[in-house]
Symmetry: C2
Amino acid sequence: MRIYNETKTHEVTVDVVILTIHQNKLKVLLVKRVNEPFKGKWSIPGGFIRLSENIDDAALRVLKEKTTVSNIYLEQLYTFGDPLRYPNTRVITCAYFALLRAEDIKIDMKDAQGVADIQWHDIEKLPPLAFDHKEIIEYSLKRTRERLELCPIAFQLLPKKFTLTELQKSYELILKKTLDKRNFRKKMLSSNILVETNEFTKSVSKRPAALYSFDRITLDSKRGHFFS
Amino acid sequence: MRIYNETKTHEVTVDVVILTIHQNKLKVLLVKRVNEPFKGKWSIPGGFIRLSENIDDAALRVLKEKTTVSNIYLEQLYTFGDPLRYPNTRVITCAYFALLRAEDIKIDMKDAQGVADIQWHDIEKLPPLAFDHKEIIEYSLKRTRERLELCPIAFQLLPKKFTLTELQKSYELILKKTLDKRNFRKKMLSSNILVETNEFTKSVSKRPAALYSFDRITLDSKRGHFFS
DNA sequence: GCAAAAGTGTTCAATGTACACCCATGC
DNA sequence: GCATGGGTGTACATTGAACACTTTTGC
């Protein structure tokens, strides 16, 4: 690998929109800025791209600072570069988005005062955000919806074993519309990407639901179809 | 507008894949590099982003250096930033692609020796390219195909008035597959985006073909559907 | 009259959509 | 036995795909 002088300054960052489902809501991970500009405002996690680091790796590094994830859905979203997006400096940012399970966050989200500087925020109730991060989040939602129409990326948001109702709920949260239960199940079961685990939920006072998992082999073999 | 010192160096470029149909082939505009690195090799047109310029404007500027276009299909493609993509320096490039009519190129493409430093190249027969430009072109073709499945961007490649056969041919060149004539016409005519001009071609020894144009009003009103 | 491309409809398969009732469980 | 969410099938509409012959023109 070529060695750069890492002290040289440059003005390109990555920012990562990290989405999950938590408490039955679609949420985005936000951090409170500790430095100027926008000190104290919420923002999506980000950082400068190192000179010897490719952009995907920089995004992954930002993600790994906050989470325990390894094999995750992480996609380059768009590059934002309005000269006025960052005060006093020209900073171009290459935005990514990621889908993961809420449990995979490794940061302790409660500090002594009960107010953490890193928190899940309901997509529907975003606080004022630093820079153009509102626009970036909105675009990531649009892209996530487009992806979901083509491939079942929603499984990234769910535990390894899940019920069809949970899967449907995650689709509904992302697409922001209700889906027909029978049609949803028919489509999912006929796609051959679900495997029955022969396990069932043990809920109280209702019929147990069958637990499914995703068929990694079929998913991978269909990569050309689902993910290309 | 904020004023920057434009002499400050930075390392972010835009590169624009310019596609057209010319001599019944899908072609890309390439320029021969006059400076190191890759001096003498073909590359897609590009340039540094100025510090006070947003990225879309930089792409448009690159495009306008080579063409007479104004109202053109120009879309951000992807940002390429492998640390080794550019020799000796870290250069991140924000790639765009554009579709236009071959007539809209303003550069004289023949010099005294008959060998120009700017030329249309058949997509199927690309010369060796500088940097990662082969990858960038391939990705632009993939994206163009995806877009064409959703919206009729092919009209950007055609003259204002065109026959259905010409339109179909442009689809076939982009999608790299033959289409059924009747199905294609049915779909196009039922989409209400074509207007009959009541003019006809005057070909020799064959039946004249009806000329159509695109309905800008319908196109614009369907922007949410076709272009979002 | 013939070469060359323009123009035209129907059938079938697959996919998406709408819609309502019974089932299994814990209390 | 009842409240709660789990689970199931059919009918219809829309869309995409396959397929072959007649028409118009200039020469």
